[in-house]
């Protein structure tokens, strides 16, 4: 059975169904959307369970000719990396649907206009299909198609359901990403032409481009697109606007999944297709990443708007991911992949809880809050836990990934005379800054005497508990036992790095043996 095609088809069908519902049937639309997304989740679980980590690299392979004259296939398959990211999407979407139950209703303290509910939810489902597709695509052209098409539903979600600045944010988001995408398109075309294999299938293109100069140019074509998507400093300024203006649910998918396409692309395409170029540019990328980590964190501290703040923290986190990818050690890369997933969960719950607060108070400004902990302890508690995973507290999932990225980068052997330990050390200061921006925000929102504006604030209701609980459970669970994920990720990462001709997954050589070798 074509599992992956089904995974893509189900939400599309669901989206159409939701869109075709009669005008008044808002509640029904929500329920249908939720059910569909749960079905997708179930299917994804089935796929995940049947996936054998140590087996073939790509599994559930589906390849049909799509546009023979362009050498384009409907090529789907997953390896460990893609699988976990698909799982991430499949988990987040139902949660988001549940969380944005009233986002389009026009209820909410800042009384926004009533908007079309079914459109919103069908857009969500379309987006889910695209997200799954983009990770499952093994045909580079197909990947590009999803990569670009994905923008449209998100564009409409931001543009017609977002905050006051929404259209500015939406346009900025679309054009910025589109620009990167078009540069990538040129690279894609050139890759096809230069490789001369008359196919876009990724596995057949690995290691085909050998000329270093060509590699560099093509690398840049891909990389810039991904750097904008991720986003990496200094291509990041669209994210705070987009994330701050998007409705919380959309923001979760935007930062939690869409942006991962960028880092995923770096790991999958930039590294494997252009290994030499990747190594050549590593120092540059690491510098950008580290700057992003510190810079993002510092700017985050200075934010007055919760969602913008979270967005900037994400910029900092994406710096970690990019660093992990390009440090090219098994630990760092595996850590980066794990980071993509964990960041999805932690930022997701952070955005959602912030969304709950904003829904109640009608303002995203931190200054408008205070003493929430007193009136709505559960809400504040969820907010705190989310924040703590944001500052990657040990025992929460994000710690493991951040630790692996840092330790991996730290232990990567010096290349081109630059010892990456330095980068790791600078990046580690992000740990301190994270504590500042998260705790300070929490203090201003939840601590101190209760501001009368939040006096009557309701605590989490049943639905919202169901939104928060699974994510927090995952965060804590993976925090103490990340092995299941890592077992899926590690082989895939090893293969990737092997294609980049970097050594396999192994610990650094203990000094004892070094000494032994010395004698």
């Amino acid at each position: 059975m074509p599992w992956l095609s089904t995974l893509i088809a189900v939400p599309v069908v669901g989206a159409v169904a939701v869109a075709l519902l009669p005008k008044g049937a808002d509640k029904l639309a929500k329920q249908v959307a939720l059910v569909v997304s749960l079905v997708v989740l179930a299917l994804t679980l089935a796929v995940t369970i049947q996936f054998s980590p140590r087996g073939e690299r790509f599994q559930y392979v589906e390849t049909y000719d799509w546009i023979p004259s362009f050498g384009v296939h409907w090529g789907l398959a997953v390896d460990g990396i893609a699988l976990v990211l698909i799982a991430l999407s499949a988990v987040l979407v139902p949660v988001v649907i549940l969380a944005s139950w009233h986002d389009a209703d026009g209820t909410g303290a800042d009384n926004p206009p009533k908007r079309s509910v079914k459109t919103y939810f069908s857009l969500l489902l379309v987006l889910e299909a695209m997200m799954i597709g983009v990770f499952a695509a093994t045909d580079i052209f197909l990947f590009y198609v999803f990569f670009e098409a994905m923008l449209i539903p998100m564009y409409f979600m931001i543009g017609s359901y977002g905050g006051v600045q929404r259209s500015y944010a939406a346009v900025k988001f679309l054009l910025y990403s589109l620009f990167g995408g078009l540069l990538m398109l040129v690279a894609v075309i050139a890759l096809y032409g230069i490789a001369g294999r008359n196919t876009f299938m990724f596995p057949e293109l690995v290691g085909v481009i050998t000329d270093p100069t060509t590699q560099k140019w093509l690398f840049l074509g891909f990389f810039i697109a991904f750097a904008i998507k991720a986003p990496l400093w200094p291509f990041h300024t669209w994210l705070p606007d987009a994330a701050a203006q998007a409705p919380a649910g959309a923001a979760v998918l935007l930062v939690g999944v869409l942006d991962k396409v960028g880092t995923y692309g770096m790991l999958r395409f930039c590294l494997e297709l252009f290994p030499d170029a990747a190594k050549f540019f590593t120092p540059l990328v690491l510098v950008l990443a580290v700057v992003g980590i510190v810079y993002g964190a510092i700017v985050a501290i200075g934010q007055t708007d919760m969602k913008r703040l979270i967005a900037y923290t994400s910029i900092s986190h994406f710096g970690f991911i990019a660093m992990g990818v390009f440090a090219m050690t098994a630990d760092s890369a595996a850590g980066a992949t794990l980071y993509m997933v964990n960041h999805g969960f932690s930022t997701g719950v952070l955005f959602l809880v912030a969304g709950f607060l904003i829904y109640r108070r009608g303002s995203a400004y931190i200054a408008d809050y205070g003493g929430v902990q007193k009136v709505a302890p559960l809400l504040a508690g969820a907010f705190l836990i989310a924040g703590l995973s944001g500052l990657s507290l040990p025992g929460l999932s994000s710690f493991v990934s951040e630790f692996m990225v840092l330790i991996g980068t730290f232990s990567s052997e010096a290349v081109a005379g630059i010892n990456y330990a330095v980068f790791a050390i600078i990046a580690t200061t992000g740990v301190i800054l994270a504590a500042i921006y998260i705790l300070w925000m929490y203090k201003r929102v939840a601590g101190g005497p209760t501001a009368e504006s939040v006096a009557g604030m309701k605590d989490l209701n049943g639905r919202e508990k169901w939104v928060v609980a699974p994510l927090i459970a995952l965060i804590i669970g993976l925090g103490f036992y990340p092995k299941p994920l890592l077992d899926v990720i590690n082989p895939a990462v090893d293969t990737t790095l092997a294609n980049v001709s970097v050594t396999e997954h192994q610990a650094p050589v203990p000094v004892a043996e070094q000494k032994g070798a010395g004698e």
Binding site: K172, L175, Y176, W233, P234, H236, T237, W238, Y295, I298, V299, G302, Q303, D331, G371, Q373, K374, G381, L388, L393, P394, G395, V400, F403, M404, L406, I407, F410, S411, A421, A424, I425, T428, T429, V431, I432, A435, I436, L439, W440, K443, G447, G448, P449, T450, F480, Y481, P482, K483, L486, D487, N490, H505, Q506, A507, P508, V509, P510, V511, A512
Partner: protein, 633 residues
């Protein structure tokens, strides 16, 4: 004699040692998830869990006792944490079990005490869940068999401390103090983390066993680096200079918290870290060890000086805690002999400082949460039990002969003397100051005449609070002697941290010993004249600049503020501005630029057909010219 081999272990109580961590964790989980339903019996559950954990610790201890010395380092596998990097496991050895006993033992007492102390607080359940959480994290810290596990516990206790300091979130001061504690600790953790990275890259492992085995073979520079990085972490947790500033603010938390976390256990984690890694990274005479001792001495003096000027009883005790931990650090820098006294002092301090803090709590309980000693006075009649126990604690800490503090502290001082007289004498001086500020505290509180607020009706605390006090004070009396005399502790710890070549015999009459006693006596007498006999003003007088210096915590906060906070704020503002105007400015600028160009260019489209014709003609000319050019090249 070197530490002994670590042996894989399974079965027995040690085999299930993880219960020590799991039980309180479970307790915390139940209390947090259970919500209001558990309000009625929540605190009891907390106590039970803590006691259960204590029981396991005792049994494990007994099982360990049953083994010969070279068998006493048992390691148990738990699970693969990060495949290929970290296998989570526990190391049950004399050192860790000693800590486990202290944590669970004193911890349980404080749990019990809190039942009474927090009886009126609506958030009591939450309080106990946090306490349980702390115990679990602290146990993970000391029991883990690898540095990552330790790091997790390390930050775990940081979290618990954050939650408990900020337990009364609605008090801005509390919220701020909690945040400060966490952030300052993070600075320490930064060092610890990098230390762990370096360990991993150097030794290809983070587990104690393998690391210590090959540690000797790494280059000296690397070892020193690791040592200093770990020390930075230790300074954060144990409020050693230069990361001491958070501890005094931490007193915003409920008093039992100050007793448990910020006196008896958590703040000693730094000492644990140093002692644990001692053989590998802080060998006697190494640079790292030297720095440890210097930090220790500096802090013990600083803490003591701060203690002299505080009118807030808890802050006074906090200062003294800093100072006492300074002693432990000093000891921890002095090799096996030092370890023995450091750990010894750590244990006895755990008792008498907890005793003192709980006593202070009991006083506050009586004086409806008044902490200003200038508003106390003459309380000994009304709070007999509290007074007696507090007084025992007092004698213990000033090192009154034959009480706990006497043995362990003098031990440290003498060992220090051995290594370097300077450090030694400074330590002696510290002891003298201790004598002063502790006496000052006792006199201001229990002697002299009443200076209470009119609405104060002091009364002795209920048994649930006094009984723990009594138990602790008993410990404060005898524990030191028991541990030191006859090398009980030394022999016990030897397998874990290595023991001195020849057994230590404790000399009762030594120059430094005498000197210490004299200085302490002088200090006490001085305190008597100033605060016992003389009238104590209710409002603190403008003291000399020395006093202000002490009152302002040696300007620690001022320094942080001017060196870190303000520049930090500026940097933040700058960065935000740069991001909006600079980076984003460029982006929007390009867009605006294109728009502007468009706006100007469209003016060319004048609407006059003849101008269009002109453009065509012009274009034709250009095209023709270009072609001619190209063609005739």
């Amino acid at each position: 004699m070197e530490p002994v081999e670590i042996i894989q272990h399974s079965g027995g109580v040690i085999g299930v040692a993880w219960l020590m961590i799991a039980l309180p964790l479970l307790g915390a989980a139940i209390l947090l998830l259970g919500g209001r339903r558990t309000d009625r019996w929540g605190h009891l559950l907390g106590v039970v869990m803590s006691l259960a954990s204590f029981a396991v610790a005792v049994l494990a201890f007994v099982e360990l006792l049953g083994m010969s010395g070279d068998q006493r380092r048992r390691e148990i596998e738990l699970f693969q944490f990060i495949p290929g990097m970290v296998d989570m496991g526990l190391l049950i050895d004399p050192l860790s079990i000693a800590f486990a006993l202290l944590i669970t033992g004193v911890g349980s007492l404080i749990h019990i005490y809190s039942i009474g102390y927090m009886s009126h607080d609506p958030g009591r359940r939450r309080f106990f869940s946090y306490l349980n959480l702390f115990v679990a994290a602290m146990l993970l810290l000391v029991l883990a068999d690898n540095y990552v596990g330790l790091y997790i516990g390390w930050e775990g206790v940081g979290l618990a401390s954050y939650l408990l300091i900020g337990f009364w979130q609605h008090k801005p001061s509390a919220a701020t103090a909690a945040q400060k504690a966490f952030i300052v600790n993070r600075v320490g953790d930064f060092g610890l983390a990098i230390g762990v990275f370096l360990i991993w890259t150097t030794f290809g492992s983070v587990a104690y066993g393998p690391v210590f085995q090959v540690a000797g073979q790494a280059e000296q520079g690397v070892l020193t680096a690791i040592g200093l990085l770990l020390l930075l972490g230790a300074c954060g947790k144990s409020a050693q200079l230069p990361l001491q500033s958070w501890l005094l603010d931490a007193m915003e938390g409920p008093t039992p918290v100050s007793a448990l976390i910020h006196a008896a256990t958590m703040v000693t984690a730094g000492v644990y870290l140093v002692v644990r890694s001692g053989a590998a990274f802080f060998p006697v005479g190494s640079t790292a060890a030297l720095v440890v001792t210097v930090v220790g001495v500096a802090t013990l003096l600083a803490g003591a000086i701060i203690g002299t000027a505080k009118d807030d009883i808890k802050k006074g005790l906090a200062g003294s805690t800093m100072s006492q931990i300074g002693y432990m650090m000093l000891g921890a820098g002095l090799g096996p002999v030092g370890y023995v006294f450091a750990i010894g002092h750590l244990i006895t301090h755990g008792f008498f400082k907890a005793n003192l803090f709980l006593g202070a709590g009991s006083i506050m309980h009586a004086m409806n949460d008044e902490v200003d000693m200038r508003k106390y006075g003459g309380l000994r009649k009304l709070l007999p039990v509290t007074f007696v126990t507090f007084f025992i604690g007092y004698l213990a800490i000033i090192g009154f002969p034959l009480l706990s503090g006497y043995f362990t502290k003098d031990g440290i001082i003498e060992t220090a003397m051995h290594h370097s007289p300077v450090l030694g004498w400074l330590a002696v001086l510290g002891a003298g100051i201790t004598g002063f500020y502790m006496s000052r505290m006792v006199f201001m509180t229990f002697f002299g005449q009443k200076r209470w607020a009119e609405d104060a009706h002091p009364h002795e605390s209920p048994a649930v609070m006094t009984v723990p006090l009594i138990i602790l004070s008993i410990g404060s009396i005898f524990l030191g002697g028991y541990l030191v005399l006859g090398n009980t502790l030394a022999n016990w710890l030897a397998p874990a941290v290595g023991g001195p070549e020849e057994p230590i015999e404790f000399h009762f009459v030594t120059t430094p010993g005498i000197a210490t006693l004299v200085l302490v006596a002088i200090g006490a007498a001085f305190a008597w004249m100033k605060y016992g006999r003389a009238e104590v003003p209710v409002v603190a007088p403008r003291g000399s600049f020395v006093t202000t210096f002490a009152r302002r915590d040696l300007y620690g906060d001022a320094i942080n503020e001017s060196l870190l906070m303000r520049p930090g704020q500026w940097l933040t503002r700058l960065a935000v501005f740069f991001d909006n105007r600079g980076v984003d400015g460029v982006v929007n600028g390009i867009a605006a630029g294109i728009g502007g160009t468009s706006g100007r260019l469209r003016r060319i489209q004048t609407g006059f057909a003849r101008s269009y014709a002109l453009s065509i003609l012009f274009g034709a000319a250009v095209v023709a010219g270009a072609l001619l050019l190209v063609g005739n090249i």
